[in-house]
Amino acid sequence: MIPRALASATLKPIVLSLLAEGESYGYEIIQRILDLSDGQMQWTTGTLYPFLHSLENEGLVEAYWQAVENAPRRKYYRLTLSGRHALLQEKQQWINVNRILMKLWGPSPELAWT
C-alpha cells in the first residue's frame, strides 16, 4: 500500500492526467487508480471528492450532471484549458523528480541493497 502522504502528493498529477484522457466521475476515478496501481493506491471518498471540488473552484476542471435511471444524477468532471496548462506544469515537475531518481537508480531500478 502506498503511504497516505505520497498518495495525496500524487493526487493532482494523476487526477489531471486521468481527466486528460476523457471525462470521468469520482467512483470511476477511484476504481481506475486502484486498477492502475494493482491495488496499491486507494483513495477514499473523503479525499477525492473534496479535491475534485477544489479543482473545480480553481477552474482546472469543470463539472456537469448527467441523469441516471432509478438513481441520483451523476456528476462528471472534465479538464478545462487552464487544467491542461496545470497538467503540463505538473508533468514538468514530476519529470524533474523522475530524472533525479533515474540518475540515482538507473533506468530500470531494482530493489536491492546497494
Binding site: 466521475y25 471518498t45 473534496p50 477544489s54 473552484n57 451523476r74 456528476k75
Partner: protein
Amino acid sequence: MFDLEKALTTWRRFLASGRGLDSDDLDELEAHLRDEIDALLREGLPPERAFRRALAQMGDYATIEAAYETLHWRKLRHERRLTDELSHRMAMLKNYLVVAWRQLARRKVFTFINLCGLVVGMAACLLILLFILNELRFDAFHTHADRLYRVNEVQTYPGMVPQHVALSMFNMGPALVEDFADVEATARFAGGPALLKRGDASFLLDRGVFTEPAFFTLFDFALLQGDPATALTEPNSVVLTASIAQKMYGEGNPLGQIVTDTQERTYTVTGILEDVPANSHLQFEALYSLDTMELQDWMLGWDSNWVVTYALLREGARMETAAAGFEDWLDSKKEGLSEFYDVYLQPFRDVHLGSTHVTHDYRNFQKFDRKYVVIFGVLAFFILAIAGLNFTNISTALSAARAREVGVRKAVGARRSQLTGQFVGESVLQSLGALAVALGGAAMLLGPVNQLAGREMTLTTLFEPALLAALLGGTLLLGLLAGLYPALVLSSVDPARIIKHQGALTSGRGRSRLRSGLVVAQFTIAIAFVVGTLVAVQQLRFLQERDVGFAREQIVMIPLTEEANASYDALVEALTASPHVLDATASMQRMGNNFHQMGLRAETEDGEMQRLSPSHLPIKINYLDFYDIELVEGRGFSKEIATDAGEAFVVNEAFVADMGWAEAVGKRINFQGREGPVIGVAKNFNFNSLHHVVAPLAISVQDWGFDEVSVRIEAGEAAEALADIEKAWAQFITDRPFSYEFLDQHFAALYATEQQMSRVVGLIAGLALFIACLGLFGLASLAVVSRTKEIGIRKALGASSSSIVWLLSTGFARHVLIAFVLAAPLAYLVLQRWLDDFAYRIDLGLAPFVLAGVLALLVALATVGYHALRAAAADPVQALRYE
C-alpha cells in the same frame, strides 16, 4: 428484512444534518455509494453486507465532513453565501446561550454559590494585585531612577551592634562628585522647618527639607513655576508645593513673596512644585536652599552623620565599580575612618522595599518590606486557586446533571468539539462575567483598602493595555481550565447509555475522588491561612503587650520648638497645674526609636579610657522617674547633686555587658570634653522596636534643648487633659499650633507593617474559608441529592436521623482532617521563618493549630450539617419516589 433504499435514505439524512455538505454533494456521494454497492452485489454479496462494506470504504463520517467543511468555507467566499452561514451560526450560538442561561437560571443557588466564590476571590486578587503593583512601581517615575542611588553607611563603632543607616556625612556628597569619575551629581537632604509664616499667619507643613540645586538634576519632581537651574542656588530660597502654596496664597502669585520660619529666618519663594506623588519615598511640601543653613563645626566633621545623600551615576557606570574605592577614600578624608564606617550605594528603587534593615531612615515615606509584597502575591495566588478549584468543582458536579442534554445533543448529531466548545464557552462566559462584577467590587472596596494600607491606588492602573490583556487572558484561562474538565468528561459519554441510564455519570468513582481532592486542596490552603492569622495576631499582641521596661500608657508627646524650649519651665508649671495632668518631662528623642549613637570614652576594668559609640539619650532630670525605669544598681539623677546634670551617667545593662564591667557604678565616662561617673545601671528596657534586641545605652542630663515633651495624664480624662494642655501651650508658645501624639499610638505605628500584613492575611483567611465552604456547601447538597434514594431506603429500613447525619457528615469531615494534616507542617515552617525576624517572639504552640483545625471542622460540619439534617428529616416515601 433489510431495505437498501431505506438504508440509503437514512444515511443521506444523517449526512444532511452536517453543515458542510449541500444536496449536490450528497447526490454525488450517493451515486458513488450506489456504484460501490452495485459492484459488491455483482460479486454476490447480500444487500445488507454490501451496504455496510461500501459505507466502510467511504471512510469515517467525521473525516469526510471535516474535509468538506474546509472546502465549504472556501466555496462560501466564492458564492457569497456568507450571510446564510452566519445566520445559521448565530442561531446555534443563540441556542447555546439560551441553554446556558436556562442552566444558570434553573439552579440559582448553585450558580450564585459558584459565581459568588469566583467574584470574591477575583476581587480580592485584583486589590492585592493593585497593591503589589503600587509597591513595585514606587519611585519609578524618575527618568534616572536606574542610575540613582542613596548613599548609606554601615556603622560599626565599638559599643554597638553594627547598623545600616540612611545617613551620611555633610561633606560626602560634593567629595563623591569630585573624587569619583562615575558620580555625576549628588544631592543632600536635611530636615528643615515644618512651619512657615506669611505675615502673622502660620502654616504647618508635614515635611520641609533643605536641599541643593542638584536636586532638580537627580529627580523628576516638576517645577510648575520658577527655574530649576536657579531656584535653590541662593541662600534663603524656598520652593513650595502647589497645594501648600495654594493654602498660603490662595489664587495670588507666590513667586517672590517672603516667608519666615520659627527661627525668624526669611525665605523668598523661588518656585512652585507639583505636589509630590504618593508613590515617592521622598516627601516634602517645601524645599529650602541648603546654603541657608548655618553650619556649625560639628556638622562639617567627617564623623557626624546627619544628612541623606543621593547620588546620580554616569550613564553606563556600574554601582560596584563606582563603590570600589570607598574604603581608601574614607581614610584619605580622615585617618582610620574606614574602621568605623562602610559606605555603600543603595539602588534608589530598593529604598522603598529593601530598607527594613536600615535604621535612622527618617525620609522613607511608607517604607515597606519586600518580603510582604511576595507574601501578598502568594496569598493572591492561593485565593485565586481556591476560587478556581471551587469553580471547577461545582461546575463539574453541576454538569454531571446535564448528561441527558449531552446525550440528546449527540443523538441529533452534535460533534464532540461542538460539545466541548459549548461547555468551555459557558464557563469562560461565566468567568468573564465574574471578572466584570469583581472589578466593580474592587472599585467599591478600593477606598477602604487605601485607607487601611495608607496608599493612593486607583483602579485605572488595571486598565493599562498590557495589564488588561493579562487580566482578560488570565480570566479566559481560568474559564478554560475550569470548563475543560467537565467538557471532556461529558463529551466522551455514549449517548445511548446516557439516555437509557440517566444519572450514571453522577456516581463515577474517579470523578468523586477528583472532587474530594479539590476540596482537600481548598481546605489545606484555608487552614494554613487561618493558622497564619492566629499566629500573627498572637505575635502582634505579644509585641504590644510585652513589658518593655517602662510605663507608656497615658502619655502625650508634644514636639517642642525653640520658643517652647526657652519657656520650658513655665510651660511645665502651667501643664502640671491642671488637675488632669500628672507629670511632664522632656528628652531629645522619642521612645520607640533607635536612639542616636554618640561617641564617648568609657573607663575599662583596667582603668583605660576606651572609645565607643552607644546610643545616647539626653534627658530632663526627672525622665527616669517619669517613665518608671527600673534601676538595678546605684541611683538615678538627683536635683540635689549639682554634678548630676551634664556629668553623671546612667547606663543600661547592655552597656555594662558590652564593657565587661564587674562593678559599673563609679566608672568614669568622658563625653564631649566633660567627664563624670556612672551613677546607676538601668534594667534593659526596649527603647527601640521589638524587632531589635536592646542595644547599649547611655543616659545623661543635658541642657541642649529638647525635641519633645512627654506629658502623663490622668487615666480616663484624656479630653479634659488635652484641653488644658492646649490652653497652657497657647499661653507660652505663639509660633506653632498645638500638635500631639499618644505614645502608645506611636508604638502601634512601629508595627504598622506587621499589623497591616496580619489584617490582610486575616481577611484573606476569612475569604479562603468562606469560598472553601461555598464549595463544600455545593458538593454536600449534590451528594445529598444523588443519594436521596439511598437515604430513603435506609430510613425505610429503620435508620435513625442521627445515623443519617453521621453517614453524610463523616465523609466531609475526613476531607477536612486530611487537609489539616497537610496544612499544619506547611504553616509551621512558614511561620517559624516569619517569627525569626523578631528579636522578641512567641513560641509556636499547639493552640493556633488546634484552633484552626477545630474551626475549619466546625464550619465544614455546619455547612454539611444543614443538608444532612434536611435529608435525614425528609419523608422516606418522597425520597423513594424520587427520580
